[in-house]
Structure formats: C-alpha cells, structure tokens
C-alpha cells in the first residue's frame, strides 16, 4: 500500500489551479452560443464539419443564411456538467458543409433561437482551393456519375450511373440521389459491386443505375449526387498483431472519420423529335420496335368471333404504346380487350412487348379485307421515323344456319373472354322518370270501405255458422233415432244366438225393445216404465194395437226377467219372434 506524498498533493493542487485558471475565464466570459469547424482549408471535393454548441439548453439554428455550401444535418447531442453544485447543460449540433464553389467562402453569422432569445454565432471563413486538391488517381475514395447519352431525343431513355470507387474500408453509407429535374427517373435494380483496377490500383466499385426519360426538349442539369460515409481510420501507432482484428467495426470501438463525396453535375441536352414526314401518324414510341399481328380464324359464320392480336415488341417506352388504329370492316363488330404487357427494366432500359387483342364478331356474310395495320415510331439510333406494319388479312364470312341477331346480342362468354372490368354505375345526371300516359290512370281504384271489407270478412264466417247449425240439427235428428235402432238390432241379434243363457236372453230382449221405443221417440234411454212406453208410442202416433202389443211384450219380458219364470225353448222362441216382429214391422 502506498501513500500519496506531500509533493504529489502539491502537484495535484497546482494542476487543478492551472486548469481552473485556464477554464475560468472561458466559463465566465464564454458566449452561450458558439460555432466552429474542423478545418479551414479544403478542396472543392471535400467537406467540413460545422459544430454549433448552445450552453444552457436547446435551440433552433437557422442555417438558411449559408449560401456558399450545401448543408447536411448530422444530428445533435447533449451533455450535462455539474461544477460546484451548479448544473450546466450543453447541446451540440453537427452539420456537414459541402462547398458549392472555390475561393474564400464564408459561413455567416447563424441565428440561434434559445430560451426566447435570438443569439448569433460568429462568422467563419473557409478557403476552398483546387490547388491543394489531390489528383483522383491518388485518391483512395472518390465517386463518379455519368449518363449513357448526353444528347438524347425527347422520349428516349438514357441510363444514369453512379459509381463509388473505394480503396478504403467505409461504413454507414448514405446516398442522396440527385433530383433529376426535367426527367422521369426510376432506379434499375439494386446496387452492384465489382473490383476494378484504376491506374494500377485496385478499387472496389459500387454502381447504381437510374433510367431517365425526358419528354421535353432543352438543356437539363442533373445535380451532383451526394454520398456520406464513415471511413475507418488506420491505426498508425499500433503494431500489435491483434490491432487488425480488433479494429474490425464488428467490435465497435474503432476510429472513423466522416466523409461526404460528391459527383460532378451533368448537363444533358435533350433534342426535340424531328418532324414526322412518313405520312402515317406517330404513335409516341421512341426506341426500336417491331410489330406482328395474328388472327386465329379467317373462315367464319355470322355470329362467330375471331381474335386479332397485335403485338409490339422492342426496347424503349413500350408502355406508352397506344392501341393500333384497326380499320374494322363494316360486316364486323369489334370488342377491344385490355392490353397485356410484359415489360422488363434492366441496365439497357425498358424492353418487352405489349399485345392488343380485339374480338371481331362477324355480322354479315361476305369477303372482307382487314388492314394493313400500320404504326410509326422514332428510332433515335437512326435519327428518323420508321414505320412498322402487319397484315392485311383476308376474312370470309358465311351465313350461319341459325338466324341470330348478332347486332342486338352479345354473348356473355365474349364478355368473359374480353375480361371486361365491371364498374359501379354512377349517376351522371339527375331527373325524374316520365309521366304515365296510359288512360288506365283514370280508373278509380278506391280501396274497399270499412263496411264492404267487414262484409267480405263476415260472410264466409256466417256461412260457416249456418252450416254448422244445419249440421247440428241434422245430426240431432239422425243420431238418436239411428243410434237407438242400431242398439236395438244389436241386442236382438245377441238374444237370437243359441248359446245365450236364459238370464242374458231376457236382458237382451229387454234392451232391444226399450231401444226401439226410444228410437221411435228420437231420444236416448236405457230403461222405461210401461206408462212411459205407452205415452211415447201414443205420442208418436202409433196405433193402439201396436202400443198395447209393445207394452204387453215389455211386461212379459220384465216378468220373465225378474219373476224367475222357467224359460223353455218354446217360450224363448215365441218371445224372440214377437219382439223381432214388433221392432221390424212396427217400431223401426
């Protein structure tokens, strides 16, 4: 264990005093806002880093005053310091400045809005001199841009290629493509990397292509493309064998230096298309194209359809190809399909084919000639308009055995074949539908009155009720009489059976006679007195002889039934015969 010597303590205090003396004026007298750059002399291809710091908080920096440089923001950071119990906050804003010209350029005073106040930084002068530039051949890192043709025709496609040459290890690439003002631009695929030897040095070259088309003529400038990156610094001091290994960015703690590279601006003179003297209308295609046409059926019957396919193939603005002007004979009706495109985009630009299909429906028999189909495109390589042609086609239409009004009827299958896209029908105008002019409008169609309606409802109900009443009456009349007669017949039948015992025989006879008497009175009943029987029968108007016979017979049967009279065969047959005769002949 060692102790700090007095001499060491004195040295420490002295160092602290020196630092305090150095820093105190700065802290006490420093402005709240300051700006500084990392270098004061650069070449036109280099950039500088501008740092603006705000002591005590955040703020907004207006960089619009910087006219001599392109300003690229590189973010901000903040730190907090505690000195003697006082907390101070510092915010740092970083910018990359790319010079727009050579000479002594100035970063003017920048306005900083902070804490409700507007503060100004100091102006800084930067010397941008080509004399100090190092030749490209000696550079380890540079970019280049070029176009495939600096004088294309309007509508002609050209390729813009950006190239990054690097002999260093770089990370965090940030590419800012030009605006391509005056052109329609589309990136072609992803970037590609290759190895290339330039002036004896091996470079890794990364390329990125854009397809450019200008539809208007004139001189157009493609602004410089910018590429920001961080260059991994070589450790010049370290000779350890592990340095190379641990300086890999994978391990994080490596020294990098930001760099912004810029291409030269490119001027493109777009030439107008020359006057078309070919006689046919120019179809708008610029490039190299050819056309072919096919028709699948030339011998038709009325109502049949054939498909005409016109295909344009080539390289150039193929997607802009309009439908060819097909003069369809009067005997046909044409249904156009949606064009089919097969277009590729590669380093040579757009190329592919576009096919226009039409269904031709034969309407009237005859011999017809279709075409020729002609189109004119502009060939920039030959600097002239060139025609392309297909056809003509001879078509024969014969009458169909089936008379079909093809003018009025379009088969649904045809719609399917043509792939017609259905769309919602929208109103294009607003009005009401017309009057009803039929004289039927004068026929009064009043609805029924309440009384009429009630009558219509009640009449069937009343009809039903009367029907039911009638049925009740009929059923009452029929039912009792018939029921009792049937009962009487049934009992008599049972009495007539040989195996019936004497007691049961008399019982059946009694039932048969009583039921017959009640049947004559059209009322139900099971037992009856002699007087009741006499009254019923007399009341129904039967002769006295029949009444007396019935009452006598009833008396006999009751006497035999309850009096214990021995029942021989003769008596039995006699009673049965008398009862049967009375019922069948007189009472029924």
């Amino acid at each position: 264990m060692h102790t700090i010597s007095r001499k060491g303590q004195m040295a420490g205090m002295g160092l602290f005093l020196v630092v305090f003396i150095i820093l105190f004026p700065c802290l006490a007298g420093a402005a709240e806002v300051s700006a500084f750059v990392d270098q004061g002399r650069i070449t036109p291809d280099e950039s500088i880093r501008l740092t603006v710091t705000i002591e005590g908080g955040k703020g907004e920096i207006d960089t619009s005053a910087i006219k001599d440089f392109t300003v690229v923001s590189r973010g901000s950071g903040s730190s907090v310091r505690i000195i003697n119990g006082q907390t101070t906050r510092k915010t740092t804003y970083n910018f990359i400045l790319i010079p727009l010209k050579s000479g002594t350029l100035t970063i003017p005073q920048l306005s900083v809005q902070t804490g409700g106040r507007t503060l100004k930084t100091r102006a800084i002068s930067i010397l941008v001199s080509r004399s100090s530039a190092i030749d490209t051949t000696e550079k380890d890192l540079f970019v280049r841009a070029e176009v495939s043709d600096n004088a294309p025709y309007a509508g002609e496609q050209i390729i813009y290629t950006f190239q990054l040459f690097s002999a260093l290890r770089i990370v965090n690439l940030r590419f800012q493509k030009p605006e391509f003002s005056g052109f329609t631009a589309r990136q072609i695929g992803d970037s590609r990397t290759k190895q290339m030897v330039v002036n004896g040095r091996n470079f890794t070259v990364t390329e990125l292509d854009y397809l450019l088309v200008s539809v208007t003529s004139g001189s157009k400038t493609i602004d410089p493309a910018l590429l920001g990156c961080d260059v991994i610094q070589r450790n010049k001091k370290g000779n350890s064998g592990f340095d190379g290994f641990f300086s890999d960015p994978f391990f994080g703690s490596v020294n990098t230096k930001p760099a912004v590279l810029r291409t030269e601006s490119i001027t493109v003179n777009v030439k107008p298309l020359p006057e078309n003297s070919s006689g046919d209308a120019f179809c708008g295609l610029v490039g190299r194209f050819r056309m072919k046409a096919e028709i699948n059926e030339r011998m038709l019957k009325t109502g049949d359809s054939t498909t005409l396919a016109v295909t344009i193939t080539g390289s150039g603005n193929i997607m802009d190809a309009g439908a060819p002007d097909i003069k369809v004979p009067d005997g046909f009706k044409e249904y156009r399909d949606t064009p089919e495109e097969e277009i590729l985009l590669d380093q040579s630009g757009y190329s592919g084919s576009k096919t226009f299909r039409s269904a031709l429906v034969a309407l009237t028999p005859g011999e017809y000639k279709l075409g020729p189909i002609r189109m004119v495109f502009f060939d920039p390589q030959k600097d002239r308009y060139r025609p392309m042609q297909a056809g003509p086609f001879e078509l024969t239409v014969k009458p169909s055995p089936e008379t079909v009004n093809t003018k009025a009827y379009s088969p649904p299958a045809l719609d399917m074949a043509l792939k017609i896209k259905k769309q919602k029908v929208e109103f294009t105008g607003h009005d009401i539908l017309p009057l009803k002019e039929d004289l039927g409008a004068l026929e009064s169609r009043k609805s029924l009155s309440l009384i009429q309606f009630m009558c219509f409802l009640l009449i069937p109900a009343l009809f039903y009720l009367s029907l039911r009443l009638m049925f009740n009456v009929i059923r009452k009349d029929v039912t009792h009489r018939i029921r009792m007669l049937k009962k009487s017949e049934k009992a008599l039948k049972k009495a007539g059976k040989a195996d019936v015992s004497g007691e049961n025989f008399m019982d059946f006879l009694y039932r048969a006679l009583v039921a017959a008497i009640f049947a004559s009175a059209d009322r139900p009943g099971e037992s009856i007195t002699y007087q009741e029987a006499r009254n019923i029968l007399q009341g129904r108007g039967y002769p006295d002889e029949v009444v007396s016979m019935a009452v006598d017979l009833l008396e006999k049967i009751e006497s035999a039934k309850y009096g214990g009279v021995s029942l021989d065969a003769n008596l039995r047959n006699d009673l049965l015969a008398q009862t049967g005769q009375l019922i069948k002949r007189s009472l029924s």
């Binding site: 539908l433 004068l442 409802l457």
Partner: protein, 248 residues
C-alpha cells in the same frame, strides 16, 4: 206517356255523369301534353280536376307528383308521391321519383324507429292498401272453407294449413283495419309550403318553436280550430295551420 217520362228522367240523371266521364280522358291527355310542353302549372290544374272528380289512382297521383316537382313545388310533389305510394308501392318509376324528391327535402328525418318499422311490418310498405284488403279477404275465405270442410268430414283435427291461414289472416286483417283507422284519422301529413313555422299553440301569435320545410312528413295528433297538432319527432311537437300540410 209514362214510359217517355221515365226515359226522360233517366236521361236527365245519367247524361251529366256521362258528359263528365267523357271529358276525363281529354283532361288527362291535355294534362300530359301540357307537361310535355313545359306548362307544368296547367298540367297540375288539369290533373287536379281529375282527382277532384273522385278518381283515386296511383298513376294519376304519380303524374301529379311529377308535375309538381317540375313546377318547383316540392311539398305537393312529395304529398302526391306519398299518396301514390299507398296505392302502388311497388311501382319502380314511383320509387325512383319519390326517392329523388325525398333527397331534395331539407329536414332530416329524426324518427329513429321508421327503419325498424319498415323491417318489422315490411308487407305494409311493399303492398298497396287494396292488395292487403283483398289478401285478407281471400285468406278469410280459405280459412272458413277449410274449417267448414273439417265440419263436413267430421274430423276433430284441424287441416294442417288452417293455423297458418289464421295467423296470416289476422296479420293482414289487422293491417287493413289499421289503414282504415289511418284514413279516418289522417295520422300522416306532408308539409306543403316551402317553410312552415311550428308554433306552441293554435294562433299565429304563439311562439315559433321550430321550422319545417316542404316535403317533410309529420304525424298528425289532433285537429283544432283550423290548426293541426303535429309531431315531427319525440321532442318536436307543435301546431301548424291545416292548409300548410296535406293529409295523406
């Protein structure tokens, strides 16, 4: 002499009616021609003479609605379309023109239940009043026929279709009776004037509660001293003059 007197009397009774009936087609055709000529007010006058003569016809009402709409009288147009809709609700032309007119009505319908009623009592909005009456009558006939058949056949079990018939009979009969109630009490009306002040009482000096515009449908709750008590929505009730609304 007696027979001559009878003939004379009959002619005296029938001829004016005959003459009126002969004029009706002429009035109708003149109305149609006036409409085509763009003289919509004359077309309205001619068609109205026919309705005043007692003709109740959905197509005639439709024509009147068209003429009123073309004459920039939205209130009467909606009124006549509404009346036509009670007689020929399924007519496609009427539906189209009626909806067209309703889109022009300024007041937004605040009756939240109208949509539900339209679903629950769909037959009331699909079928004309006369049709509903005749359906009820036919169903009634079938019901009693099957019930009578059961009586004749002495079957104690009802015919399978009888309960369903009874259900539909009740539905359509009740609907028809509701229509009778509506006709006699005039429960629905259309605002005819371009702008109508709905007041707190049946006097012009009463406080104006809110304003309704031409073509708006209201429910009529009461009639008193030349004023109608109308209900636009649950919270918008008041009095308007009878002439400012047309009872459907």
């Amino acid at each position: 002499m007696q027979s001559f007197a009878v003939i004379f009397t009959l002619l005296a009774i029938l001829l004016p009616g005959q003459a009126g009936a002969e004029k009706q087609p002429r009035l109708f055709l003149d109305g149609v021609q006036s409409y085509h000529d763009g003289n919509f007010s004359r077309a309205i006058a001619l068609f109205t003479r026919l309705t005043d003569a007692g003709i109740v016809n959905g197509e005639l009402f439709y024509n009147l609605g068209n003429a009123c709409l073309k004459n920039d009288d939205l209130g009467h147009a909606v009124f006549w379309y509404a009346r036509a809709a009670r007689l020929i609700p399924g007519d496609p032309d009427l539906k189209f023109n009626y909806n067209h007119a309703l889109r022009m009505v300024k007041d937004k319908n605040e009756d939240k239940n109208s949509g539900i009623f339209r679903i629950l009592f769909f037959w009331n909005y699909m079928l004309g009043r006369t049709t509903i009456q005749w359906i009820a009558i036919v169903l009634n006939l079938f019901f009693w026929f099957f019930t009578g058949l059961q009586l004749v056949k002495k079957s104690r079990t009802l015919h399978r279709s009888t309960p369903a018939l009874l259900l539909f009979l009740l539905i359509f009969s009740i609907t028809a009776f509701y229509h009778f109630y509506e006709n006699t009490h005039g429960t629905q009306a259309i605002i005819l004037d371009r702008e109508v002040s709905v007041r707190s009482g049946f006097a012009d000096s009463s406080t104006e509660l809110f304003v309704l515009h031409a073509g708006t449908r209201v429910a009529v709750e009461k009639k008193n001293k030349g004023f109608l008590k109308i209900c636009f929505s649950d919270d918008k009730i008041g009095w308007i003059r009878v002439k400012e609304a047309g009872l459907i």
